[in-house]
Point group: none
Chain length 206, copies 2
Amino acid sequence: MVPPSLTRRQQEIFDYLREHLDDFPHPPTLDELCDALGLSSRGSLHKQIQALIEAGLVEPMNNLRRGIRLVEEDDITVAEDEGLPLYGYIAAGRPIEAIRNPETIAVPPQLRTPNPCYVLEVRGDSMIDEGILDGDWVVIEHRAQARNGEIVVALVDGEEVTLKRLEQRAGEVILHPANERLQPMHFRPDQVQIQGVLVGQMRRYH
Amino acid sequence: MVPPSLTRRQQEIFDYLREHLDDFPHPPTLDELCDALGLSSRGSLHKQIQALIEAGLVEPMNNLRRGIRLVEEDDITVAEDEGLPLYGYIAAGRPIEAIRNPETIAVPPQLRTPNPCYVLEVRGDSMIDEGILDGDWVVIEHRAQARNGEIVVALVDGEEVTLKRLEQRAGEVILHPANERLQPMHFRPDQVQIQGVLVGQMRRYH
DNA sequence: CGAAGTATAGAACATTCGGAGAACTTTGCC
DNA sequence: GGCAAAGTTCTCCGAATGTTCTATACTTCG
């Protein structure tokens, strides 16, 4: 279900609100917002805001002063009945959770598990010997523990996200690339945080 | 179901839209599209788009600005509600058509094409260097022609079905395995019948 | 060559979008 | 209650954009 898509201006205004609503000590009045957005007519702004309210992105402000408020993101109806969130590239350099409004992508049931899953697009050749190529989509079951031998999404030092085969030993964690030209990497357990386990993979050729 | 016989130009434009619609921050205006496509008349483009709308491939944009949108592939009428036929193992030794009542398997729209497709389960390591492993599912678009470089399902001598990279030369057909330990195979053109082209691939790890 | 179908340009027309501004209503405060 | 501030509704306008139509050129096929 996609709410009537926003016009360009509506999108701009919504983006602005998402960015700057916290900058105001109190939610701004329409006049203040006009000022910030470079409009000169309160009525015009109001019309745009109405559209956002109908799209379900802004709380209705029935005659309330300074009543403008965004709808909590969790409450926004996400169209993901069939799809999983696509969080973007792995090895992108930041924690998965940081990403806000992911696209979604259809995943057949046999490629996922009943537990929460998400999808990443693979960058690089580090798993090439496992048949996972640059550009592939991988389906990841979201969990924080994994067993040795499983291929995991690992967040290293809170910065880098990579897809590697896991080996946990006493006092260290080894991440094995599946590429004969690359070496396994050794870390202290506290450096590595597991963000999910590989459960499926897809590739398109067209 | 409509036979969506597109003209060449319509196909070009549709392909372009499928490729590049996401490149725009908002759906483009007709003028912007004209620019991107090298046309100079809005009206001309509009006429082509109308044809695509009638073919059911593009959402009607009734006077909406920036209203151009592709029909969700899920909604495109193809006999696929329940999934694609799973014809079994490739290299199973007989023509695909011979199989009567296949199972079906769910395939996400981005892994297939709008044309008829089916699924095979891969046996063997002959495409391992392409990242296609034993046990993978491959999505095949059902057609009888292919271009050099495409990976095809080839029926050899009416008996053996294999997945190989195709090279057609004058007077001979060469099927290239993607495995450095295997040699390309040479055939007369009449020995080789193409049964489809690889368009997608899936694997499960659980 | 001619016919039929297709593609393009360009002009003319219709609608939407975004904004301005006035007038009205409601709220908050004294 | 009265007043000012703020939200709401309304009409109007201009530019951007979608739609329609006509004329012309190009392709393909016999």
